[in-house]
């Protein structure tokens, strides 16, 4: 992972994950929405270039993304209403996040065959990180794992979260911020250690 991608990860984490409820089920919904938006956004961008709609491309792309978000919200209202209420305003955060806008508007257009795997690769790799983050917050904060089922939300209780009050902090917004910061510090620490090892090997050789 290079530095640019770390900054992208920080930006999307700040924009999308921090303010979301610390539940694994919420993470699943947001990650699915992010992937759907990236896929449709890439297709629409290709459509815009193919049919030479570049002058109105930005407005068209944004409109499509907002419509997709609205439909996602309506689908949630119909299928899992409690999730729609729980997420509320957060559903709109991935749509205007730096991640999607950066990749949609920032890069030059190339062939669709290359663009889709590249963009979906970015999104899927981030999705794994986001899901692990949500899973940690769910387990540490509430002592549960929440999943989406046909009947709505399913909550698997792992332990009584009241017994370890200190970890409840990670379910809150400041807890998520601290968690992100700690992950970054650990990452930098590990990378620096590897650099020292590489340098030592070079000197030894």
């Amino acid at each position: 992972m290079n530095r640019k991608s770390i900054y992208v990860y920080i930006a999307i984490t700040l924009a999308m994950i921090i303010s979301a409820p610390g539940r694994f089920a919420c993470g699943i919904v947001l990650v699915l929405e992010l992937n759907l938006l990236m896929l449709l956004g890439t297709l629409v961008k290709s459509f815009i270039h193919r049919f030479e709609l570049v002058p109105v491309g930005s407005v068209l792309l944004l409109t499509v993304m907002i419509v997709v978000t609205m439909l996602t919200r309506q689908a949630l209202v119909l299928t899992i209403p409690q999730m729609a209420v729980q997420l509320g305003f957060v559903v709109y955060l991935p749509t205007v996040s730096a991640f999607l806008i950066g990749y949609m508007f920032g890069e030059e257009e190339s062939e669709l065959k290359k663009t889709i795997p590249r963009n979906m690769g970015y999104t899927l790799s981030y999705s794994v990180f986001a899901l692990l983050f949500f899973l940690f917050r769910d387990i540490a904060g509430f002592g549960t794992i929440t999943l989406l089922t046909n009947d709505g939300l399913y909550e698997q209780v792992l332990f009584d979260s009241g017994k370890i009050n200190a970890f409840v902090f990670f379910a809150t917004i400041p807890g998520a911020l601290v968690c992100t910061a700690v992950i970054l510090i650990l990452y930098v620490f590990v990378v620096n250690k590897f650099i020292i090892l590489e340098n030592a090997e070079l000197v030894h050789d």
Partner: protein, 186 residues
């Protein structure tokens, strides 16, 4: 009215609790220059005009047609139109570029979503804008403090320290909810 502004400014800050522009504040707080000032001016004009216009559209068009759920789309189209107009004015008069979309749109959505009338939505929007504006000098000062204290610090470490401090600010703002200083707790 003042209660609502303070609610979105401190207790339930649009930036720190709702997460609107959390990443933008981290970027914009790098320097306090004229572009930032113009960006804030543009945001204020754009958001307040769009909020009032969108509210009228919702009331006059969407409510009679039972299509209130489409308000984010109406808000987007109105915001884009107003934003482009204000952007052109700023570019012609000052020559600066002040492109900003995500924060303005999210504040607009929040103010429309949580209001009961047009004045209420304008007050909420003002509170959200203030919460965004007020956090910038705090983060700028924080960055300077970290730079002075640890000049050879890694950029990622600096970001981590800023995030931890933001967490502390959230706790400080929310502590009144449980503080023993509150009346009725003891």
């Amino acid at each position: 009215m003042i209660d609502t502004i303070f609610y979105y400014l401190f207790y339930c800050s649009a930036v720190l609790v709702y997460g609107i522009g959390l990443n933008r504040t981290a970027v914009l707080s790098r320097s306090m220059d004229k572009t930032l000032f113009l960006l804030i001016i543009k945001m204020i004009i754009t958001i307040l005009c769009s909020t009032a216009l969108t509210w009228v559209v919702i009331l006059e068009l969407l409510v009679p047609a039972d299509l209130v759920e489409l308000f984010p789309l109406a808000a987007l189209l109105i915001l884009l139109a107003v934003s482009v107009f204000v952007e052109i004015l700023i570019r012609i008069t000052t020559g600066f570029r002040t492109s900003e979309f995500a924060v303005s749109y999210l504040i607009l959505l929040l103010s429309l979503n949580e209001s009961t009338e047009v004045v209420n939505s304008l007050v909420i929007a003002s509170g959200c804008i203030l919460s965004f504006v007020i956090i910038l000098p705090v983060l700028f000062a924080l960055r300077k403090r970290i730079e002075v204290a640890r000049p050879r610090n890694d950029k990622i470490k600096k970001k981590s320290l800023i995030m931890i401090t933001m967490a502390v600010i959230v706790i400080v703002l929310g502590v009144w909810n449980v503080s023993w200083l509150n009346q009725g707790v003891l």
